[in-house]
């Protein structure tokens, strides 16, 4: 079972959550000024990346709150969760989705220490 960390409730099973699709889609300021193509794109076109995906979830069978998350769509591993209104977290380009953020950062730190050691 996919485990998802709700920013308020902590780690819970995926069945407690509902997926809300791509995050950070801003409603156009003046929809009346949009062409049909632009409005259609706003309504229907989604990023759908094979890789890092910024997305919304709602803890529907828990606190009921919406939040954002970053997940790798090949491995379904989450990089981070963050609350609505927060900035997108930084995701390193070489993150392949096979490790969690903690594992990635530990490996990076270990790598840097090793490199530093070699220089000495």
């Amino acid at each position: 079972m996919l485990m998802i960390t709700c920013p308020w409730c902590g780690e819970r099973e995926q069945i407690e959550f509902s997926a809300g699709g791509q995050a950070h889609i801003a409603r156009p300021e003046d929809p009346a000024k949009l062409s049909d193509e632009e409005w259609g794109a706003y309504i229907y076109v989604r990023d759908n990346p094979k890789g890092v995906h910024f997305e919304r979830w709602v803890h529907s069978h828990g606190c009921g709150k919406w939040f954002n998350a970053v997940r790798h769509t090949v491995t379904d591993v989450f990089w981070d969760v963050y609350t609505m209104g927060e900035e997108k977290p930084w995701v390193p380009e070489d993150w392949d989705g096979l490790t969690t953020r903690a594992q990635y950062e530990t490996a990076k730190t270990a790598g840097q220490t090793a490199e530093g050691g070699e220089q000495k």
């Binding site: 996919l2 794109a41 309504i43 229907y44 759908n48 094979k50 769509t73």
Partner: protein, 414 residues
């Protein structure tokens, strides 16, 4: 190509089946083709088949990242039907069913198409209203459809539990619906197009498009650059990835959809039974396995696995409806990546790049349309304008507003 027949079977039996020729070659890519089809699944192979057979274009390559039919063609639950609500969908899917009916003869390859009948169960008043509306719409489109009572369902499926938590109140029956052997569809098409001179190139991944002045000139692949006058992209779940390479975006999201099969049993179900309301559909393969499918995962993913909770979500209703299966063991489980549009109808379309065509968005129900999809797509590519059956499925509909909203009728039941 040696024709398969009873005589070739006897001849090869005499040499202990050691001398069957390969069904298709494994050619190296030529520098340029008239048409390149990206994606060696059923739809892509069918497109190449109709390009060669009906449009006279045989300088064609089908380029496949992995092996033939290794994507959704080999991962679906093999159901074929055409009982759709809207006229546009009915035209497209019934076009396919008609081609299914002669496919084994056309290809000289047994695709084991079996029109064993397909039941859509209704479990509540709303289901009854839905099948009422859809059933009449289907009949008006000249497609076979019958309303049947719970007693008639019981006659067809004697072990069904009609008085379960969501009791069976009626059903819609399409007798021309049924199943086909999915791998055979890919292999049969590959063998037929190979015989007509089409190159089937496996283990060759498209990594980019060469576009000059808004016109596609060829594709970059893991085996080098290949030029093409026209390119048709039929890559199902990976369509958004291909579109990004070509420089535009598609109104698609990719979701895993999983299925599973049981251990082989003696013949027990001689039709296909689907249930939209409780997300379970079931049939029995000729090997005897129960083939079971349900709804897709709710989040975008390319994992080709499917989430764990969906297994219970599908197995629960199956056991409730068919208590006889409660102790059957499941043998295999897998997932495919479905490219889903918001109106649950496919996209067969020209694109912002000239001579680049996309056939995608078949979502959770593409297998049934394989020959029809290939047929209309081939004619569209050959002529440079969309086939009349394909025209309503253009990607323009997402801003003109002319959506073909099959979501209500087809929801998850594919």
């Amino acid at each position: 190509m040696t024709k398969y027949s009873i005589f070739s079977l006897i001849r090869n039996a005499l040499s202990y089946h050691e001398n069957w020729q390969k069904a298709w070659r494994s050619p190296d890519p030529k520098p340029e083709y008239d048409v390149i089809i990206v994606g060696g699944g059923g739809h892509g192979l069918a497109t190449a088949y109709y390009l060669a057979k009906e449009c006279g274009i045989t300088n064609v390559a089908v380029i496949e990242k992995g092996w033939l039919g290794g994507g959704n063609t080999g991962r679906n639950t093999t159901i074929v039907r055409s009982n759709y609500l809207w006229d546009e969908s009915a035209a497209l899917y019934d076009h396919a069913v008609k081609l299914w009916e002669t496919m084994s003869q056309d290809l000289n390859y047994n695709v084991m198409f079996s029109q064993r009948g397909l039941l859509h169960l209704a479990h509540n008043v709303h289901d009854m209203q839905e099948i009422g509306r859809r059933g009449h719409a289907i009949k008006l489109n000249g497609i076979d459809s019958e309303f049947i009572s719970p007693a008639q369902v019981k006659e067809m499926v004697p072990f069904i539990n009609l008085e379960c938590r969501y009791p069976v109140m009626g059903a819609l029956l399409q007798r021309r619906g049924g199943t086909a052997r999915h791998d055979a569809v890919a292999w049969g098409y590959a063998r037929a197009i190979d015989a007509m001179g089409v190159d089937v190139i496996q283990n060759c991944e498209v990594t980019g498009f060469k576009v000059e002045g808004g016109v596609v000139k060829g594709v970059e692949t893991s085996r080098g650059y290949i030029g093409a006058k026209k390119v048709g992209v039929v890559t199902a779940g990976h369509t958004s990835v291909m579109a990004e390479m070509a420089g535009f975006r598609m109104p698609l999201e990719s979701f895993p959809l999983q299925a599973f099969v049981s251990e082989p049993l003696k013949p027990v179900i001689d039709c296909v039974i689907m249930s939209n309301a409780i997300h379970a559909y079931i049939s029995q393969s000729d090997k005897g396995e129960l083939v079971i499918g349900g709804s897709g995962d709710p989040y975008v993913s390319y994992s080709q696995r499917g989430s764990f909770d969906q297994i219970e979500h599908v197995a629960g209703p199956v056991v409730e409806l068919y208590p006889i299966f409660s102790r059957v063991r499941m043998m295999r489980q897998w997932g495919g990546i479905t490219d889903v549009t918001v109106d649950r109808s496919p996209i067969i379309t020209k694109t912002p790049v000239e001579n680049l065509y996309f056939n995608c968005g078949w979502g959770t129900g593409g297998f049934k349309a394989t020959p029809g999809s290939g047929h209309v797509f081939a004619h569209s590519i050959a002529k440079g304008e969309m086939h009349p059956i394909a025209a309503p499925f253009s990607m323009d509909r997402f801003y003109t507003g002319a959506l073909i909203d099959e979501a209500a009728a087809a929801a998850v039941a594919h």
